[in-house]
């Protein structure tokens, strides 16, 4: 277990590194804050939890991973490239004309991705549909859906939450990137979501709260079986812009092009943390 955690931590650090270098080298900027929240989640999901075959991305029995917060595409691209879905060099072309990888996910350009996304509040309904389809076929594959906390302000997400519980979709796991911010500021000041766990429990979901940067806690949450045929909802508490000192834990981390200096500092910090581990 310990070596597994170490290995996944290393992958998460590589994803962090890919996010930082993309943010440094891209033309316009990226959603840096809400990508750095996803590194551990992506590492655990793509390298341990999900049953995938990068050489056969349309494999019928694959687990379906739906990134509802489509602006988290850099973290997703990094994880998918490192898992072997496409060459890592594609990240260097991020956001260039008609590039495979861009601010939001385009299924037609990105091999192995389940669905295009970017507009908030859509992915959970799609995930519910996938899970219902698996249920109809008595298939064993699982559906994972990563959503943002800002998305929870969209009414459509609550339609999907009702439906997932109503149909007892215990083959569906939602991972919430609870970084506490939308573009305009802290969620609890702009549009309060708390008490969130209680709300979700009242919606008949099996709710777990973890440190979204802690590999061990994430693994444990993914592995825990839902009781009473409930769909699972993992509230992953994360730090927006984690690792970039100037904006860490601030709304300002949402979208920007990182300066070379800040990027180097953050990359050096990653390197030393990695060496310590």
């Amino acid at each position: 277990m310990e070596s597994k955690i170490k290995e996944l931590s290393k992958i998460a650090t590589l994803i962090d590194k890919d996010i930082l270098t993309t943010a440094r080298d891209c033309a316009v900027g990226i959603h840096i804050g809400g990508n750095l929240t996803l590194s551990q989640i992506m590492a655990v999901l793509f390298f341990e939890v999900a049953n995938l075959d990068p050489k056969n991305p349309h494999w019928e029995d694959r687990d379906r991973i739906i990134l509802s917060k489509g602006h988290g595409n850099v973290a997703l691209s990094s994880a998918m490239a490192r898992r072997g879905f496409f060459p890592l060099e594609e990240l260097e072309k991020f956001d260039t004309f008609n590039s495979m990888l861009s601010m939001h996910i385009d299924k037609h350009r990105m091999p192995g991705v389940e669905i295009s996304s970017g507009s908030l509040g859509h992915g959970l309904s799609v995930a519910v549909g996938a899970a219902l389809g698996a249920r109809m076929d008595k298939a064993q594959w699982q559906t994972y859906c990563i959503i943002s906390d800002g998305e929870l302000e969209e009414g459509s997400v609550w339609e999907a939450l009702m439906c997932g519980a109503n149909y007892h979709l215990d083959n569906l796991t939602v991972i919430l990137d609870r970084n506490m911010f939308t573009i305009e500021g802290p969620t609890e000041e702009t549009m309060a979501l708390e008490p969130l766990a209680e709300k979700l429990e009242a919606f008949n979901w099996f709710v777990l709260t973890v440190d979204g940067h802690n590999i061990e806690e994430l693994l444990e949450a993914f592995n825990k079986k839902s009781p009473e045929k409930k769909p699972k909802f993992i509230i992953a508490n994360t730090i927006k812009g984690r690792g970039v000192a100037s904006v860490e834990g601030k709304a300002d981390s949402h979208f920007f092009k990182i300066s070379k200096e800040d990027a180097e500092k953050a990359l050096a910090a990653l390197k030393s943390a990695d060496a310590e581990a």
């Binding site: 019928e60 379906r64 739906i66 299924k107 037609h108 389940e114 669905i115 295009s116 970017g118 507009s119 859509h122 959970l124 309904s125 799609v126 995930a127 519910v128 549909g129 996938a130 899970a131 219902l132 389809g133 698996a134 109809m136 076929d137 298939a139 009414g155 459509s156 339609e159 999907a160 009702m162 439906c163 109503n166 149909y167």
Partner: protein
């Protein structure tokens, strides 16, 4: 369009939505990937028989049209062919972004079969009448858009679109349309159907207005006007070359539809006429960019001049102008 010598279809006289209810069961038996969904309107959109026949393949998502479309998109990730049904106004407007982004942008084989198109939900008024749905759906890239004239054509379109790779929209009515087709036939996507050739004057129509327009043609004939009737049930992809080939024989063309005159069938035809540089008198008849009132269907048809007499009078005015 009818290649087979058959007897009258048992669907004749049914509202298109009831024909849908029967044909979807037939298709469900032929293809086990077909699933059906409604947003708490299974009875109204006639999916009750399908739900009874295939309880494990029917999903009621509750009163949640955005979820209806998103879930339909998701079901395709499991290899399903979802038939998502609700009223046309909600399919087009309440769930517009899910239709565009989840279903069409991803080019997924979801069939959106709406009911209560146009003013056919008469007494319910503007909130439940759909006068913008064709405009919306035909603007979405990759979306095929159908507006069948009656029950038999509905069945033909449903059978012809099962294997379409991308998304499909089919607009049905609440009321029983006047019968236009009596025998089952193989539908050819995109092909207009010249029901009455007429002379010099052509009325182009779609959906529930086809039967009304055919009757208007009879009234006009009594008044000495030999007007043709062209049914366009594939709004998109519309075979513009085929339309031009037909239109070039006429001097006056009027479109008739239960839709806002903006961006519906009339606009689609206007685009073709303009781009082909056809020199003819042209008029779009339909709901004249207003919100409609409520009342018995017959009264509404008469008030908006969408019954045979109203269509006749409108055409005579166009000819006189």
């Amino acid at each position: 369009m009818n290649d087979n010598k058959q007897t009258q279809s048992p669907l004749v006289g049914l509202p298109s939505r009831k024909a849908y209810g029967k044909v979807i069961v037939e298709l469900g038996h032929q293809n086990e990937n077909i699933v059906a969904l409604s947003a708490d309107l299974a009875g109204s959109v006639n999916l009750a028989d399908f739900a009874k026949e295939f309880p494990d393949r029917f999903i009621n998502v509750g009163v949640a049209e955005q979820d209806l479309m998103g879930i339909s998109a998701g079901l395709t990730l499991a290899g399903k062919i979802p038939y998502a049904s609700t009223y046309a106004v909600f399919a087009a407007l309440r769930a517009a972004e899910q239709v565009r982004t989840d279903i069409a942008y991803n080019n997924l084989p979801v069939r959106i079969v709406s009911s209560h198109g146009g003013i056919t939900f008469d007494v319910a008024g503007a909130t439940h009448q759909a006068l913008e749905d064709i405009a919306f759906f035909r603007t979405i890239p990759g979306m095929a858009v159908f507006s069948p004239a009656d029950a038999v054509e509905t069945a033909a379109i449903l059978r012809a679109t099962v294997d379409v790779k991308g998304p499909v929209y089919i607009r049905l009515s609440r009321v029983a349309e006047k019968t236009v087709y009596t025998e089952e036939f193989d539908y050819k996507i995109g092909q207009p159907d010249l029901l009455i050739p007429g002379e010099d004057v052509l009325m182009i129509t779609t959906g529930v207005e086809v039967g009304e327009t055919v009757d208007a043609a009879s009234l006009l004939k009594e008044r000495g006007v030999n007007a043709g009737v062209l049914n366009i049930s594939t709004i998109k992809p519309l075979d513009s070359k085929a339309v031009v080939d037909i239109l070039k024989d006429y001097k006056t063309v009027m479109t008739i539809e239960q839709h806002n005159i903006i961006n519906g069938l009339g606009s689609a035809i206007a685009e073709i006429i303009a781009e082909a540089n056809l020199n003819l008198k042209f008029y779009r008849h339909g709901i004249m960019d207003i919100f409609t009132t409520s009342g018995p269907y017959k009264d509404l048809l008469s008030y908006y001049k969408l019954d045979p007499v109203g269509i006749q009078d409108t055409l005579l005015q166009v000819l006189d102008s």
